[in-house]
Symmetry: C2
DNA sequence: TAGCGTGGAGAACGCCCGTTCCCGTCGACG
DNA sequence: CGTCGACGGGAACGGGCGTTCTCCACGCTA
């Protein structure tokens, strides 16, 4: 195979890593499998990320950017400030319905390695704080009391977990319905 | 050391397994460490559970019984049907504050091995369904609409996840406040 | 008291995995 | 056209872990 430039090599590597890590968990996936999936020589893999933990970190980082961008894009399609909040839960529903959905990558990663890898713990906390911050922004834009933000976040997190474990998209609609009540009550 | 009877050997084994698995994750803990913690010969360990996966299953099973019993005991102290629902969130708060709290064992286990071990996936689903069933019972006892149960469950799950990752007990109070609004709105 | 079996302690085995190293080949440059 | 460097492919290494096996001390029985 012709030599790949660094950028596409990195993309392929992260693509393969993300697919495998998300589907099966981090420790269950070996570096060899990732390099096969990426079609890269092991040497190249370790030139890009000198250790597995750094590849894991990069995987979570890139996914964080993309995940929040997809959420924001879905919310952006709605104008009314209150409806924008509910759009978060609608988007969760479309996410849950995607083939291969297996819960939240950061919740899963934290459960697996949060106690043992600082990098994973940091990524999980950063992602969850960023999500909470985004929701808080939506709540502020709608002129609603700040205390509502964390409550809506709990509904969303609970929906992710429950949908992941039970393998159903129902929690998205349930969380949305609960969110409507919370909005009305404020 | 004097030979231990089967019952206490099993107890010691499960005690050691639970402490280590919960604190550090399942794959990060070796059988050798567990046998050291239990003070048991490896032979005895494998006589009790012929493979690690079965020990993991037993760990989750026993923890499920105890966890739900603790929750139920806390709820039992409250008489008013609506207050009993809120007592669930109060108990979550005392759980979050316990030293060594690191989130929900089934959520963590599912994130780590749910895709790779049938036994862990089954345990997680069974536990979450049992919890949801318990909450549904409380909702029914209070004469509230059945649709409220899953919504309260989402708040609780979200609180567990968030408290685990962020290392704070605040989600318990936030979830309780949200639950009050949901109760009032029904 | 001699033999036997049970159970404790830990060494040993085989496998897997993260990481490193070697070799063949192909393109660039003089 | 010859040489050198870089890169792809994969073997090799070292360590860790789940699982099994060996050895030895102790207590029971005839």
């Amino acid at each position: 195979m012709a030599p790949l430039d660094t950028a596409t090599a990195r993309t392929r590597l992260l693509d393969a890593a993300e697919e495998l890590f998300y589907a099966r968990g981090i420790q269950s996936v070996g570096m060899d499998e990732i390099r096969t999936g990426a079609g890269l020589p092991l040497k190249r893999v370790y030139a890009l990320y000198p250790a597995k933990e750094q590849l894991v970190e990069a995987y979570l980082q890139r996914r964080d950017v993309r995940w929040r961008a997809r959420l924001a894009a879905a919310v952006e399609e709605v104008a009314d400030p209150r409806e924008r909040i509910l759009a978060v839960f609608d988007w969760l529903g479309t996410w849950f319905r995607e083939p291969g959905f297996r819960g939240c990558a950061w919740i899963n990663g934290f459960g697996e390695l949060g106690a043992v890898s600082d990098a994973v713990g940091r990524q999980a906390r950063a992602h969850k704080r960023a999500f909470a911050g985004y929701v808080a922004g939506l709540v502020g834009d709608a002129g609603l009391p700040a205390g509502l933000g964390p409550q809506l976040v709990l509904l969303a997190e609970g929906a992710m977990v429950t949908a992941g474990i039970l393998g159903t998209d129902a929690p998205a609609a349930e969380a949305r319905a609960a969110a409507e009540v919370l909005l009305r009550g404020s």
